[in-house]
Amino acid sequence: MLAILKRPAATPYVELAPGAAVEAARGLNRAASVLAASVLMDSAVEHYRGSFHNRAMYAPLVSSALSLLAGLHGHTDRRARAHPVRDAVFAAAALVGLVGSGAHLYNIAKKPGGFGFQNLFYSAPIGAPAALILSGLLGFLGERTRDNAPGAPPTIAGVPAGRFLAAATGAGLLGTVGEAGLLHYRGAYQNPFMFLPVTIPPLAAALLGLAAVGAERERRPLIRGVLRLTAGLGFVGAGFHIMGVGRGMGGWKNWRQTMIDGPPIPAPPSFTGLALAGLAALGLLEGRRR
């Protein structure tokens, strides 16, 4: 841990590879896509459950679908400049997510009991729209990372891009951990593996936080490892949730109920998306291998 914290006086300066910023931006585009895919499927299922009672409930489906496409487009784009349409799509996604968070908060607040566990558990999930904010934000930050003169160390708002992204991704991970923690608490942690998303991603978030303020151009195999674990967790979690649906009464034969009442299968991959963003940030912080 100390090795992470200490900032050696004479860090050998290693230049970033010329295409590092674009590579990181593409990683962020992929991260935005994975998060958007998670939001698209999750909100489709959950808002279908809510009978699309309010027309605005279609918004996250449209916005996340666009964010997914914009991310895929960014993945194929190797140019070192922001793309105006992608920029607009990502900004809109973050905005829709923000409005959605407000709507979910209002939905909880207006119910008897307010912000008690009953409503936090069973009303519109407080943290779900945040995944759309993160998809939009990561995509948007990807565009900012990309929008740097080739060769120069990329910056976002004057801060080295790697630091900025590490901090943003760490914060996003903590928010997602909060959501998983709340809902796994509702599930009484009945399976010990339910502790995984509240142990590994927080560690990744802490390490990213340290990296954001630590030395640049330094190899960080521990963070890389934990981020990869976090990325894998998204798939493992989806697998566990598939099992969980099968354990509902009537099993998969009764999927029209169990898939909706059971654990949300598309939710865990948002950890994968955030881990991809963390790895992109790490790439910028580490620089080229000597």
Binding site: R49, G50, S51, H53, Y122, M249, G250, K253, N254, R256, Q257, I260, D261
Partner: protein
């Protein structure tokens, strides 16, 4: 009166993911209720039949739900409620005493057995019981009001609404086993729930209900 859930057939769920073997067996057992008295005498049964027709009148265009059979079954098998009002004796005794007392009242007020009275006169006797206005030796201290409210009406109506015939009328899906509910909020419908007809849109509801499983 047009049905509220036109075309809805709860038993269409029988072989779908909505019902499992346990549910099918439970419903079959309920429908196979013995149609002759095991607890009551034939005389009591006929009086009970007349009472059921007044408490839960049924349309003539379909087979009747055999309500006396269900009440008799509950008493014969001694299926209890889990609680008892202290003013009422155990359920079997309450029913026997209540039926005899209502028949006595019919004789006293209208000069004939309950089962032979005109429906309005039967209603009059039942209304007096409901108001607690019937007293006499046959009641043996059991308040007629408590018998009416807590024994007579619940045993008959609960039996009625435990049958697929009633479920079709009220758009109920039967036992939620294994399939339960997804939309818990008020006035939201799951795809496997009955569709309520809006006035003048019965055909639409009928069509939708033909797909409900």
């Amino acid at each position: 009166m047009s049905p509220r859930y036109p075309g809805y057939e709860v038993e269409a769920k029988r072989d779908t993911p909505s019902w499992n073997e346990a549910t099918r067996l439970a419903v079959d057992k309920r429908l196979a209720v013995p149609r002759e008295p095991r607890f009551f005498t034939t005389d009591e049964w006929i009086t009970l039949e007349a009472i059921c027709d007044r408490i839960m009148p049924q349309p003539g265009d379909r087979p009747k739900v055999p309500l006396p059979a269900y009440v008799d079954q509950k008493l014969a098998d001694n299926v209890q409620d889990g609680y008892r009002y202290a003013v009422l004796p155990p359920q079997g005794e309450a029913w026997r005493r209540g039926l005899r007392a209502l028949d006595d009242a019919a004789h006293g007020v209208f000069g004939g057995p309950f089962r032979t009275l005109l429906p309005e006169r039967q209603d009059e006797i039942l209304r007096r019981a409901q108001a607690g206005a019937l007293e006499g030796e046959a009641w043996a201290g059991m308040p007629s009001k408590a018998f009416f409210e807590h024994r007579l009406v619940p045993d008959i109506t609960h039996a009625y609404y435990a049958t697929p015939t009633a479920w079709n009328e009220i758009g109920f899906g039967g036992p939620a086993s294994p399939r339960g509910y997804v939309r818990m909020a008020l006035n939201r419908r799951d795809p496997w729930e009955a569709v309520e007809a809006k006035p003048d849109h019965e055909a639409k509801a009928r069509q939708a209900n033909s797909r409900v499983r």
